[in-house]
Amino acid sequence: MRNAFADEITKIAQQREDMVLLSGDIGNRLFDKFKDVSPGRFFNCGVAEANMVSIAAGMAASGLQPVCYTIASFLTYRVIEQIRLDLGYHHQRVILVGTGAGLSYSSLGSTHHSVEDMGMLRLIPGLVVLAPGDEKELRPALHAALDYPGPVYIRIGKKGEPVVHDTEPEFAIGKALRLREGKEVWILALGNTLPLAVEAATQLESRGVSCGVASMGSLKPLDTKLLGDVFTSAKVVATLEEHSVFGGLGTATAEWLAAQPARAKARLVTFGTPDEFLHATTHQSSAREWAGLTVENMTQRLASALS
């Protein structure tokens, strides 16, 4: 996904004079083309993420359109106050792109995992949280973020993730993308879990269970119309994310559900990382196993929730 980001931001920079790209000392060579087409608009801000985000706020206040890019865990956790005040309180047009989000950098350990980031950022008033499902969804998501008159956090994976969408979808903030329709089960996938959702749905279909899939590329604001549809039409609705079961899509959905005046027909099942640190050395696939983010675990839990 990060290569698609670099490619798209470079295209945008060729059309927009106000674009500036700030990086937290990562993306070696990734932005060479951006630097070529947009000289003087790329800033390696070093290993100083708090400073980077406040600088972006000052640039935005002066009429530029900054995009900050670094590893999601470093862009969010230590910088939360700068994000809250300089971006949120001042409602500045700054786009934060957190790369290697969730368990993407699993093998680097919990220092590099970001499974609480969305829970933190979702609390900041006026800040939009996006997590596109693949690189085809990322490109229009970036354009949607540019049209939003305030701060946006875009959470992306690393590289080589499977591409799910055939063509670039019509992305809109606050709108989910329905990939396949289902009658009994819906899997609402966030970010890089979209390919897993499609696999699990295919498994369920092969067992005779009608299963829909939606990409919840916009966590905040949430597509409550879609939630209304699936919770009244299906029996089981699952949320799926490389994020803690606390604070992210599962929680946001549960919050919405609890506030509904009429009892929803469907039952909510959440898939995410547990409330503990991962201490073992793992690759992303093993980390997903640890969190139960596998086709086997999902189909088993969803089948039993149906019965």
Partner: protein, 272 residues
Amino acid sequence: MDHTKLKHVAAELRGEVIELSHRAKTPHLGSSLSCIDLLVALYWGFLRIDPKKADSADRDRFILSKGHAAPALYITLCRRGFFSPQLLADYAKDGAALAEQPAPHCAPGVEWATGSLGHGLSVGIGMALAARIQKHDYRTVVLLSDGECNEGSVWEAAMFAAAQKLGSITVLVDYNKWQATGRSEEVMALAPLRDKWEAFGWESYEVDGHDFGQIRAALVRGELPDRTKPLAIVAHTIKGRGVSFMEDDNNWHYRIPNAEELAAARKELGVE
């Protein structure tokens, strides 16, 4: 304006700041009084600003990063004609535009909402880089407190500005030797503060922060063309400056003056 007149303006502003604290029962008086002369030096003769065009794209930017001295900024801006005295009369009341610490876009001339320390310099660097990109020639000045220099983000910003050869930014440190609950030197070993800025790649000077001649002489260094180093002015100041019973007494970080103290302070300042 000559220095005698500047001193008179500063004395009047000090009187107003003390009156504001007394009336609204708001703290941080000592911190406001220590930076009044720096604000007067900036707003009378240095900053290229037009109170009638507070949002003009090429205005000089000033960020009061030590947001707790907001009353000093409000009174300065009001005196320079950025907004009406009525705004000041409502200071800190429910629903007022001017809060104890500035909110975003709270009044013309207030560039940034500060109050959490360690943000203003980075934001100012963003504004200064925007000037470079957009080919404006405005200068950016950021006023920090010495306690604020405890924040690591200040030093992240310092290193970055030097790496960017950002000659259009000036830092003033209101070095009043106190922070909220102790001597700034004892809490975080701040000295030698000028050397620290130098070591971080800045051109740096120490001045008497109550001497207009010295402050101006240092500020104009920042106006030299083709500068490649940011400028840090370490201004030695006295917390509570101007009122003998408040000077260097850190109780006035939080104390509110009563009517007798207000009268005594005004008398001493010669602004009864």
